[in-house]
Amino acid sequence: MRKRLPFGLKTENALSLGALIVLFVLSSIASPYFLQVQNLLNILKQVSYSGIIGLGMAFVIIGGGIDLSVGSMTAFIGAIAVLVVNWLGGGAWAIAAAWVCALALGAVSGLFNGIVVTKGRVAPFIVTLGTLAIFRSLTLYIGNAGQFISQSDAYGNMGMSSVLGVPTAVWVFFVLAFLLSGLLNRTRYGRYVCAVGSNEKVATYAAISVDKTRLLTYVITGVMVGFSGVLLSSRMNSVNSSNTAVNFEMDAIAAVVIGGTPMTGGRGTIWGVVIGAIILGMINNMLNMLSVSAYLQGTVKGLVIIAAVFIQRDSSRRGSRA
């Protein structure tokens, strides 16, 4: 019997967790500031926004798809949230309405991606490449290529708030990770996502509704984008129609992959996404502290992604019995 680890961690997490620990030790040696609580909390906060999206992305990838539209969708939903807050006067009710609109809009956007992928039989790469362009363009159009600036201090305060000293975004990230980890590992739906991504035909024969299962992975991702959109726009108390959440899709996919979920689908881990996101954040943090040019940080990130996949490439299957 395979050993079970607490908190839904899996043995698959061992590799990425090991990398995280090594990186942690290296960083604390490299810079005395690294271990300061404020710095560590900052890292967590930095990675929460794309990390939350990564949680949904894991479902999409495990189910055998990909979603490239999440970055521009975040900007779009963030912008709408700011508009809603302003329209309704910026009070508590306005903020609540912004949350509802953002989550609903995320679900609907994901539904659109999912329907075209499953019912329209268009490759997910293409569908979401299309919606990537659409969401960014709509944001630019509505905002006249400028800023969406919130007129509510309360909205901005929410974005900067902390609970028990930990930023709200980090709380949301971890709570969602906990819930989605449960959804993936402990419910029928999670099992079906793995089955569909592993072998669509077997899933069909097992009376699993392949289309519905797959469609929902995009909806889940859309809802995660809704969370991220509100948290991100409230942190800045504004959305920049051309800059906000650019390349979030890459960060989200990178976190999933570094965390040990294979791009081929069929299996994966949610806590791996959390670990992967933190690894990315720590690397950025270290490069900043070592004052490496910001222009070079992308190179390091790229190398880490490739190395992570290289190390994890189907190591569990090699030498197994046919």
Partner: protein, 498 residues
């Protein structure tokens, strides 16, 4: 003739410290056809995968033609002159025949462009040599299984293989196609090609092979002249004990009608199929490959769209259209394509068992303890050999995977069980187990639809047989009339109208 082409010394293979092949030292004579038999998990596949460079042995060495060789990968094996024709073909479906045969060794014209005409001519020559009728320019997708096999063999012959390894080549062939294959094997042998032949069909092994090696649990049992081994003796040595009657006794079923199909039709595939099965009855479906039997099962299960027809389960009409409604109505289907449609090899054992019936275990969180408990039940009942209850299925042998697939189908507690080639690629012991389970299920009141291309098992298991041809039921045989000849007459259109 008695020169050794291959000599293995102490070949041993371990997977994560489990020994699956133990100290195999044999000689394969030049120009012979050597049969390898054994139960699933006996180590046959591992042995030939080592010979063909897919696995590296944990210890031991191989001599080829008197020289020590290190077969590092499939390309190295090919260079030496060893070709493997795997059970699952290695053909690129979207390319055509000659492109597959010349893949990686394309002919070029003087200008460096592909010499299409030359390759087609050579392919035609190869096919003529093999006595096969396959158009060199046909797309692989359009070929029958037998034709695909011919293409695989042509690929092997083209590189002048001296040792040709065939892994269960006859499993998917009809009787006529098997005759053609055997003729071809004899011709190859006459040309000096040495053949290693793995099969579960002992009768075939005895008729085509010069010598037979028997493996059991990874160990060498014997290597003898095929003439000297009776089939009973082969079976006995494979399992290591006496095998008595392989089929359970038949029983007459007088139960109520449990399953009725009326005028089912699928455009271009099935027309006007009607039949009924009683509780406790095992109704056989025989016919040639392509007669529409699997398609019939798929139509009933809602996987294939039908144009007309009605289905009743226990008197209630079933809304046809989705696998979910079929399962809810009490139908279960064991697919012929075990790895393609039956089980998830990358999933754990217990997750496969509960795949269809998962709702029973989730309220709404899945109870792992309940899953494992039920899995233990099936592991005990079906004697499934597995390292653990949550082992990945790819670590189980084919026969055990098939038992898992059966457990998965049964865990929904069905009223009607459709089994499609239930013992394909399964060893004698597992076959007998599966026959016994199916009989037992029928005795408990299930209606069983038994689709099989192995006439022996149709005759052994069924009290009534429907023969299909070209999407129609062309004959129905009962009792004494169920004979091999009678079934073939109907299947081939000699009886039962054109």
């Amino acid at each position: 003739m008695t020169d050794a082409l291959v000599r293995t010394s102490g070949i041993t293979k371990e997977f994560s410290s489990v020994r699956v092949l133990d100290d195999i030292s044999i000689e394969i004579r030049a120009g012979e056809i050597l049969g390898i038999i054994g139960e699933n998990g006996a180590g046959k596949s591992t042995f030939i995968k080592i010979l063909s460079g897919i696995y590296a042995p944990t210890s031991g060495s191989i001599e080829f033609d008197g020289r020590r060789v290190d077969i590092r990968d499939a390309a190295a094996a090919k260079r030496i002159g060893i070709s493997l024709i795997p059970q699952e073909f290695n053909l690129i479906e979207t390319l055509n025949v000659y492109e597959n045969i010349f893949l990686g060794a394309e002919l070029r014209t003087g200008g460096g462009l592909l010499d299409r005409r030359g390759m087609i001519a050579q392919t035609r020559e190869l096919m003529k040599e093999l006595g096969a009728t396959v158009d060199p320019a046909a797309s692989i997708r359009t070929l029958s299984v037998a034709q695909k096999q011919m293409v695989e063999i042509a690929k092997a012959i083209k590189v002048e293989s001296r040792l040709l390894i065939m892994d269960e080549p006859t499993t998917v062939l009809t009787a006529r196609e098997i005759d053609i294959l055997f003729g071809l094997m004899r011709r190859l042998k006459a040309r000096g090609v040495t053949i290693v032949y793995i099969s579960h069909k002992l009768k075939e092994v005895r008729s085509i092979c010069d010598r037979v090696m028997i493996l059991r649990d990874g160990r060498f049992i014997c290597l003898e002249e095929a003439d000297a081994l009776e089939i009973d003796e082969m079976a006995r040595r494979m399992v290591g004990r006496e095998l008595n009657q392989i089929f359970p006794p038949k029983r007459r079923s007088e139960g109520a009608v449990a399953f009725r199909v009326e005028a089912l039709a699928v455009p271009d595939i099935l027309s006007d199929l009607s039949f009924e099965i009683r509780e406790g009855e095992i109704l056989g479906f025989a016919g040639l490959i392509g007669a529409g039997r699997t398609e019939l099962a798929e139509a009933i299960m809602g996987i294939r769209r039908i144009s007309s027809g009605r289905i009743f389960v226990g008197g209630r009409e079933l809304r046809i259209g989705s696998p979910a409604s079929a399962v809810n109505a009490g139908l279960a289907y064991l697919s012929e394509d075990r790895q393609g449609a039956g089980v998830l090899t990358s999933f754990a054992l217990h997750k496969n068992v509960t795949l269809v019936s998962l709702a029973e275990y989730a309220h709404p969180l899945i109870s792992r303890a309940k899953e494992l408990e039920k899995t233990r039940f099936y592991v005990d009942q079906f004697e499934i050999k597995a390292p653990s209850l949550d082992a990945r299925l790819e670590n189980l042998s084919g026969g055990n995977q098939q038992k898992v697939s059966l457990a998965k189908s049964l865990d929904t507690d069905p009223k009607v069980l459709i089994v499609d080639e239930p013992t394909r690629g399964v060893d004698v012991k597992a076959k007998r187990d599966i026959y016994a389970f199916i009989r037992e299920l029928a005795d408990r009141g299930l209606a069983v639809m038994f689709i099989s291309s192995e006439l022996e098992e149709v005759m052994g298991m069924c009290g009534r047989v429907i023969v299909m041809r070209e999407g129609r039921a062309v004959g129905e045989l009962t009792g004494e009339r169920i004979t091999e000849e009678e079934i073939m007459y109907y299947a081939m259109g000699i009886k039962g109208g054109a």
